[in-house]
């Protein structure tokens, strides 16, 4: 019982602390956005026969004629009521646009993260148990490559091999193509699909970007798991667990791994932030209809409400991820209490 009330207290306090962070982030982005340029002029660029009245009316329509601080307060006032405004470019409520993008981004990033962690744990544990073996050397070298090579290089290699070459090679060999699609998250007509087909189609589209992301994430995790396990496997409590007759699997995956996970969680916590923020690159390479891809588009057109909506959601996601990670510490390592 005490545990639950303490956890609730922790959650409430962390959420309260997150609120000023959220507004701090949005204020900074708001200011930078206004420094970047005038969206109305960008919107009307190249449109013929524009009179100053039209410009003036458009400004008034978007409240761009008001002082910047007033506009920000207006945005906050609307945000509290769940209204994120209307996109300049799409002429649609921003929230309706952003929600499906958020789902696509979170779906891709979390599955890539999960895949990377899952593989990294097995590979890292194997490497740690057979240090300086050929497999370990190969894995460590590949991991170094994974860390060093930027994601768009992996992405383009992936598309080249598993989409382009695979498509033409299998067509030549079997008469039909076996490949992974390099573009998009769904087939164009996915709305007509029955659920099983919809799911299969979504997974098929996700495999390539997910694997590419997983490789770049995994690289670091493998190294973290390996070094963590190298250390914990030498600890007395692992020897003691072995001495009390526990099976090899229990000794390694229960007693040693649990302790090796602590540094990994710290890193995953940081990685979630960078993965959401780094989404634009991956999503641009794979034309993935997620927040990152549209965020870049919104920046090009200075679509203020859209930029703010994406920033708000990213900020909330990252703050939430941080709180969850801090909570996980408490579960994994009892010496760390959530305060």
């Amino acid at each position: 019982m005490i545990e639950i009330t303490r956890l609730a207290r922790f959650l409430i306090r962390r959420i309260l602390f997150s609120i000023p962070v959220f507004f701090g982030v949005t204020i900074i982005v708001w200011a930078l956005m206004y420094a970047a340029g005038d969206p109305v002029r960008l919107l009307l660029a190249g449109v013929p026969y524009i009179t100053p009245e039209v410009v003036e009316n458009l400004r008034r329509y978007y409240h761009l004629d008001r002082p910047v601080w007033e506009q920000y307060l207006f945005w906050v006032f609307n945000l509290v009521q769940g209204n994120l405004g209307e996109s300049f470019v799409y002429n649609q409520p921003v929230l309706q646009l952003v929600i499906p993008w958020t789902i696509e981004t979170v779906k891709l990033q979390l599955s890539a993260l999960a895949l990377a962690l899952f593989l990294a744990i097995f590979i890292g544990v194997y490497s740690a148990r057979h240090p300086y073996s050929i497999t370990d050397m190969a894995v460590t070298t590949l991991a170094l490559l994974g860390v060093s090579m930027p994601i768009f290089v992996w992405g383009i290699f992936g598309i080249l091999i598993f989409s382009s070459y695979a498509h033409s090679a299998t067509t030549a060999l079997f008469g039909f193509p076996i490949y992974f699609p390099p573009v998009g998250a769904h087939a164009w007509n996915y709305r007509t699909f029955p659920f099983p087909l919809f799911l299969a189609d979504a997974i098929w589209h996700m495999i390539l970007p997910m694997c590419v992301l997983a490789i770049t994430y995994m690289a670091l995790y493998v190294r973290l798991v390996r070094s963590g396990m190298r250390e914990t496997l030498e600890q007395d409590y692992v020897l003691a667990a072995r001495a009390s007759g526990l099976s090899d699997r229990k000794v390694v995956y229960k007693h040693a791994l649990r302790n090796a996970l602590i540094p990994l969680i710290t890193y995953v916590g940081l990685a979630i932030a960078t993965s959401f923020a780094g989404a634009p690159i991956t999503e641009t390479v794979f034309t993935w209809p997620g927040m990152g891809y549209y965020y870049v588009q919104a920046l090009y057109s200075l679509d203020f409400p859209l930029i703010m909506a994406v920033i708000s959601i990213l900020t909330i996601l990252i703050l939430a991820a941080n709180i969850i990670v801090d909570m996980t510490y408490g579960f994994i390592d009892p010496r760390i209490t959530v305060e």
Binding site: E234, Q235, D236, Y237, L239, A240, A241, R242, A243, S244, G245, L246, S247, D248, K250, H255, R258, N259, I332, D333, P334, R335
Partner: protein, 340 residues
């Protein structure tokens, strides 16, 4: 007296980058039934490695290269790891030197002990928990029922050591290797733990092997003792004869360096030199470079422990020649300490 365990010519080497460390280079001794056995020696003499080798859990890059460990008529070194897992903790157990590192910090102490019981006995979780609480009470942990759910860092060092011992006893082993059970403890708690171990030994009827560098603990607890030096056995004998009439110069030197509570504090006598490098151990008798009695013969052959008196094995080849002198030196050192 029947032997519960016979260790013959046990060799455990560590293959490090610097070279092969001959941590155990052919040690032999028997552990008799119902006789508390002491393994004594300096750090690095191979006491702990002996216990780990018997259990088959020598950590990397260590390997057992030769020897036999006979237990219940079978050679443990020929058994597979699966077979050994069943013996470990269940028949042969070890409790480690430092209780603050030998309990896993991320699991409750209770669950760590219950895990061992459930591994070796066909019991439900609830039964295992009851057994753990019972054994926690046996090692005198107050409020055992609540303490079951606590983590190692919530226990004091003395309690942690008692819990570590409780874990090694949880499956009622036939033989327990207690690796320096009192080294990490302060003196008041040391006495408690030693008393407790004796009590538990009577209660559970197990054989105890005390691994220590503390001659006091040996005198207190053991009936028979094996003195190790640099991975070799110097002598094995009853405790009384080792203390009163050692048959090896190393033992004599070791005893002389123990301070007496009777005399005034003065400079302790020390053994000159340091323990040898086990990658390039000295030829012949490992102790000869530091031995006051060494002659050429000591450099040539590596002596095994042989019976020199009834129930007294010694690995000194010159023991017959030097015995009188050895005893005289010990007597003189003791008199000096007592008179000052």
């Amino acid at each position: 007296m029947a032997n519960i365990m016979e260790i013959e010519n046990l060799k455990t080497y560590f293959y490090t980058e610097a070279g092969v460390v001959k941590a155990l280079d052919g040690i032999s001794f028997n552990i008799e039934e119902d006789v508390t056995h002491g393994l004594v020696g300096e750090s690095g003499s191979g006491k702990t490695v002996t216990a780990l080798s018997v259990l088959g859990i020598v950590p990397n890059p260590g390997r057992i290269v030769d020897g036999r460990v006979i237990f219940e008529g079978e050679n443990l070194l020929e058994k597979s790891d699966k077979e050994m897992q069943k013996l470990r903790g269940d028949k042969i157990a070890i409790s480690f030197q430092d209780p603050s590192t030998s309990l896993n910090p991320v699991f409750t102490v209770g669950s760590q002990i219950a895990e061992v019981i459930m591994r070796h006995q066909d019991v439900t979780k609830e039964e295992a928990k009851q057994a753990v609480i019972e054994i926690m009470e046996a090692v005198r942990i107050p409020e055992a029922e609540q303490r079951y759910y606590e983590y190692p860092h919530q226990f004091s060092t003395g309690m942690r050591q008692r819990m570590a011992i409780a874990r090694s006893l949880s499956a009622r082993p036939d033989i327990l290797f207690a690796d320096e059970p009192t080294t990490a403890l302060d003196v008041t708690i040391e006495a408690q733990v030693l008393n407790l171990m004796q009590e538990l030994q009577d209660k559970f009827g197990m054989d105890l092997v005390m691994i220590t560098h503390d001659m006091g603990v040996i005198a207190e607890m053991c009936k028979r003792v094996t003195v190790l030096y640099a991975g070799r056995v110097c002598e094995t004998a009853n405790v009384d004869s080792v203390f009163h009439e050692p048959k090896h110069p190393y033992t004599q030197a070791l005893l002389t360096s123990v301070p007496s509570v009777l005399g005034k504090i003065k400079r302790l006598s020390v053994i000159p030199g340091t323990i040898p490098d086990l990658i390039h151990p000295p030829s012949g008798c490992r102790f000869h470079p530091r031995c006051a009695f060494a002659k050429d013969v000591c450099k040539k052959e590596m002596p095994d422990a042989v019976e020199v008196a009834k129930g007294h094995e010694s690995a000194c080849v010159r023991i017959d020649e030097i015995n009188d002198e050895l005893q005289a030196r010990l007597k003189k050192a003791r008199e000096e300490q007592a008179s000052d």
